[in-house]
Amino acid sequence: MTTYAVRDSATMLRRNLLHLRRYPGLSLFPILMPVVFLLLFVYVFGGTLGNGLEVGGGRDAYVEFLTPGMLVFTIAGAAQIIAISVAMDMTEGIVARFKTMRIWRPSVLAGHVLGNMVLTAVSVVVLIAVALAIGYSPSAGPLEWLAVVGLLVLVAFALTWLSVALGLLAKSVETASNMPMFLFLLPFLGSGFVPTDSMPAGLRWFADNQPFTPITDTLRSLLSGEHVGRTGVVAVAWSLAIAAAGFLWAGYLYNRRPAR
């Protein structure tokens, strides 16, 4: 039944967008939380942290350093929400109803993923707007911006599918809200908030080798108009690998028949 793939996915996307509108408690959180963190880090910690950067320069330099990291943090935050909404959906009888209908089977999950991509896009636009308002001045040209958007979409797509799988894996909505907790922590354990070379050896090794660091570094290079190099390839490779793993895992879990 691939004939209706687009139509059924669009129907499910409309459903998920209505959910986002009807449940602002869940949809406003990923939009507002990164803004709060941005302001907190810039105005509370930024003066000190900025002085610790290689280039020095206090709060103004820290805004430039932090914003690319905050973009990744924003995407990871929005992805966490999807695990909760998927888990909520799976506890409802309506998914069983969908499974007894002649529709394009992946459309239920596609609707969740597309809906979350829309939410992520809104969150990212709001974050960039606030960052620009408080003095962020990226020097990226149109091509670099295009690359930034492309990488952000890819990362959002990857983390969303991973989080969908976690939502399907969770036995309850409560566990679903805890499971993607690592998505909240990983940006801190990378190059998003401070340079990794300021960390102790073991932590630094982890930070340098986890996927969020090459993604953050690539965004940072693109936005400041610098040469990206090999890091960009690593970032894209990680994103594709996470997307593929999340997609296959989610598909497997969704098609798993009900236990009873």
């Binding site: 059924d8 209505l18 009888g93 069983a96 499974k99 209908m101 009900p258 009873r260």
Partner: protein, 331 residues
């Protein structure tokens, strides 16, 4: 499997909407369906009756393509559920035990969602939605989100959503569990209306009265097998009489009565005796005379005419559940 005498001359004038042959299903080591066999005629109302854990929901899930059987053959609307699931899905509608509605949407949006998933044209869809809202008395509440709906309204919307695609066969898994009596009667009227329109209805229930009220045929499921099936009248005919329930004020009277009536006394704190009757007055008079002669003071007496409860008790050796309970179902 036991068969009804009246069942022997099978009429082939109507075709089968659902057939299941030797269906087996286990979860880990737990055998849930153990050679289930059933046939549901087109346009009939079929009730699958059984206590919690007897395999009712598993049966519905297999028939509705939600679950694969381990063995056996199942055909629904002329198609094999394992090999032609999409063709089966085109013909069926399921209203599950847990409400299959979207709580964040309004009633109308829920119906529109179903219309879109059935790929109805926008104009046809709006007409059908308005018609169903009116038929299920939901027009007034159509544009409110479901958080404001009562249990009965939710169940009616659930059924309306099932009907959007005009299915030939409808599965209703415990359609009235948890509903108040008034909503239950409304639901019964709706089911009768569907049957009147020629839709095949397959329902599961724990309520014997419900099966009695609605079904053309009733099958009793116990331990993963059908222990009996037939029309409600045929099943009741298998239990020749009813019984008299007698209760006594104290243990002494109870024991004396048990002795006088030669009825088996039960252990424990029970002060109630049950005496089988064929329902005639002479037997009642006889019981009272025997108690008088033994000098036993009777507290209450009630005469119980046979119903499906008795059939259930006779066939499964245990009473049917009458309290609303939910079966454990996970995804």
């Amino acid at each position: 499997m036991s068969t009804m005498p009246a069942q022997e001359p099978i009429t082939q004038t109507r075709t089968a909407a659902i057939t299941a042959v030797d269906v087996r299903k286990s979860f880990d080591d737990d055998l849930v369906l153990d050679g289930l066999e059933l046939t549901v005629e087109e346009g009939s109302v079929f009730a699958l009756l059984g206590p919690n854990g007897s395999g009712k929901t598993t049966t519905v899930n297999i028939l509705a393509t939600l679950l694969d059987a381990d063995a056996g053959e199942v055909r629904v609307a002329g198609h094999d559920v394992a090999r032609e699931a999409d063709a089966v899905r085109d013909a069926i509608g399921l209203t599950g035990q847990f409400s299959a509605v979207d709580n964040l949407l309004t009633g109308r949006e829920n119906l529109r969602l179903m219309a879109d998933l059935h790929h109805l044209a926008r104009r046809d869809a709006e007409g059908r939605i308005a018609e169903l809202l009116a038929r299920f008395e939901l027009t007034e509440a159509a544009d409110r989100t479901l958080s404001t709906y009562s249990g009965g309204m939710r169940r009616r919307l659930d059924l309306a959503m099932t009907l959007i695609g005009a299915p030939e066969i409808i599965f209703l898994d415990e359609p009235t569990t948890g509903l108040d009596p008034r909503s239950r009667h409304t639901m019964w009227e709706i089911v009768r209306g569907l049957a009147g329109d020629g839709t095949t209805v397959f329902l599961t229930t724990q309520y014997l009265e419900e099966a009695d009220q609605l079904a053309d045929r009733v099958a009793i499921l116990d331990g993963g097998r059908l222990v009996a099936q037939g029309t409600p009248a045929e099943l009741k005919a298998r239990v020749p009489g009813g019984h008299i329930d007698l209760t006594f004020a104290d243990r002494g009277a109870y024991r004396a009565a048990a002795g006088a009536l030669d009825a088996p006394a039960r252990d424990g704190d029970s002060l109630a005796l049950q005496v089988a009757t064929d329902g005639n007055v002479a037997k009642v008079r006889d019981v009272l005379r025997q108690l008088d002669q033994a000098g036993v003071e009777l507290e209450t007496l009630s005469i119980h005419t046979p119903d499906l409860d008795d059939v259930f008790l006779a066939l499964t050796g245990k009473p049917a559940t009458s309290e609303p309970q939910t079966e454990e179902v996970s995804r």
